[in-house]
Structure formats: C-alpha cells, structure tokens
Symmetry: C2
Subunit: 187 residues, 2 copies
C-alpha cells in the first residue's frame, strides 16, 4: 500500500545488520532481501547490482558521518564525551552502518576505505579543536576505534542493560582520565 520508497531503506538496514552480525559472506542478495522483508526482485529494483548496494551503504555512511560530526560539536558534554560514548554503544544507525562498512573487504571496495578515512578525519578534527593537543586527540580517536572493535567483539548488538551499564562505567573512567590529561597539558 505505501508507494513511497520504503523498501530501499529497509534493504540498506538489512544489509548493514547482516554484515555486522554474520559477516560479508552471509550478506547475499537473497539473505538481505529476506531480512528486509522484500522480494529479491524488489531489492534489485532499487539496487541493480551488489556493487550498487555497497555504494548505497557508503552513501548512507557519508550522510550519517557528517551528521555525527555536527552532533559531536554541539553535544552537551563536549565532542570527546559524545565521541567515546557513542563509540562504546552500538545501537544507533550510525554505529551499525560504520561497523558494517568496516566488515567490507577494503581491498575490493576501495571507496569503503575512503569513506572510513573521511569519517575518521571528521572525528579527529572535532576532537583536536576540543582538546588542543594533536597527540592526545589522536589517542582519543584510537581509543574510540578500540571501543568500536570491543563492542563488535563482545557482541553488544543485542546486549542486555547489565553489560551496557558496565561498559558505560568503563567509559566514564576513560573520560575522567582524558580530562585529567587534557587539563594537565593545558592548565
């Protein structure tokens, strides 16, 4: 009944979800279509090939990445707080898509590497403006990546509130440490 292109977004969601939870191997056209609740023909109507699907995911990452940096700069706790907290979490659209692109073979989709690099540079610049010191800024961005990897490793994707609270406490401690170092460098 909805003639609006609703399926397109659902397909991209499903593609990202399967990439994150089951890897690229499982992200076949059939599997993506089934997970999206869409027929294979419907998927291919919006994305004529698998390459088009990947391109669509990368385009979405670019959108969400730009939005994330803007949100970072205007976050109440400051860019660093927002950055490390969202890195540890993994239940936002952006986090899912970011990790999904991480799962793509970078040597086969060079644009994926560029998209990730672009997201990185946005983060680095925002963090640098906040903390001043380039080495500390780099350290913070690296820790953010580490948190992403950890969230992916511990399978936080459908985590219960208990383990999430534990992660939050760890991030609080990290933020306190960063704050101490930051004020020590620039008193």
């Amino acid at each position: 009944m909805p003639p609006a292109p609703a399926a397109r977004d659902k397909v991209l969601d499903a593609f990202a979800a399967i990439l994150v939870t089951q890897g690229e191997r499982a992200a076949t056209l059939d599997a993506v279509a089934a997970h999206a609740g869409v027929s294979k023909g419907g998927l291919l109507y919006h994305f004529a090939s698998k390459q088009a699907l990947v391109d669509g995911l990368l385009a979405r990452l670019a959108e969400l990445s730009a939005a994330d940096v803007i949100e970072m700069r205007s976050a109440t706790g400051g860019p660093v707080d927002h950055f490390l907290r969202t890195s540890a979490q993994s239940d936002t659209d952006f986090d899912r898509v970011y990790v999904a692109v991480t799962r793509l073979p970078q040597d086969i989709y060079p644009q994926a590497r560029q998209a990730l690099q672009a997201a990185h540079e946005g983060w680095y610049e925002a963090v640098l403006e906040s903390v001043g010191d380039p080495v500390l800024a780099r350290a913070i961005v690296l820790m953010g990546d580490g948190l992403y990897l950890e969230a992916a490793r511990t399978g936080d994707w459908d985590a219960d509130s208990r383990s999430r609270r534990r992660t939050d406490a760890h991030v609080d401690e990290l933020l306190a440490l960063v704050d101490r170092v930051s004020t020590a460098l620039h008193p």
Copy 2:
C-alpha cells in the same frame, strides 16, 4: 619429494593472508589452495572442512598469542612499548593471524570471539602490571586496537618504508604521552 607436512603451514598462511587482504568472501578453498601453491585436494587432506581450516587458524592464534605476551613481558622497551609498536606494524606472523581472525564473522564462529578475548586479556594483564593503573592500562589496550584497525584501514600490509616511518613517529609520540601520564599517576 617433501613428505614433511609443509603444505599445512602454507595453507594456514594463505588463509590468513587472503582474509586480511581480500576478506572472508574471497577466502574460498580454491583461492586458499591456489595462494598456498597447493591443490584443493591437498588442502582438504590437512583440513577436512572449512570449519577445520578456521579451527586451525584459531589454534595458531592461541599459540602466537601466548608467545606474544611472553615476548611482551621480556621486551627491552617494556610491555607497553612492545605492545603499541607491534599493534601499529602488521608484518609479523602474529599480527597477520590476529587481524585475519578479526575478519571472521564472530557470530558464526563463537570460538573466534573467545580467542580474540583471550589475546586481549593477556595484553591487558601484562600492560596493567607495567603501568599499575587499570584505567590507563585499558586506555592503552584500546589504543592498540585502534592502531590495528588503522593499519588494516590504511592497508599497511605491503606498505613502503615511507609510510611506515610516519606511523612509527606517531607511535613514538603516543608512547611519550603514555609515559608522561604514567609517571604523573605514579610519581
């Protein structure tokens, strides 16, 4: 003429190399066999199924991981220095296998997640013994993960010496920062 099981190691090397550079999708039995200079039948002699191949890689990670922690503790520059430097590099057997396992879909191979977690805990404990502070130790391990991800993203796997020197300089700065923080926490 070589009746020694030389092929087994070559197959594992090839499997890891393809996972790292081209992703799990490209790591088919044929591709691994071809890259190892072995026939498909020869591969299947040593690893009766793809699951067996994965198990073999995980077993090798466990070996190398234990060896890496031992090497860390007896490294000349100390555990932290050794850890961050090897995280930034990616030309050792251990780094290759570690990142290769990272590329496996964790939800499908739960043992992969456990193996990575085990490697992590070994690092964390060695770093903790060195720096004393648990939060700083966690920050260091996270930065190591970030460096792994960065090395994977920038495709350092066949890097020229120029880009490697740049990475080394960055790691030097990070180590200097960690050292300052460490002595500030425990004067």
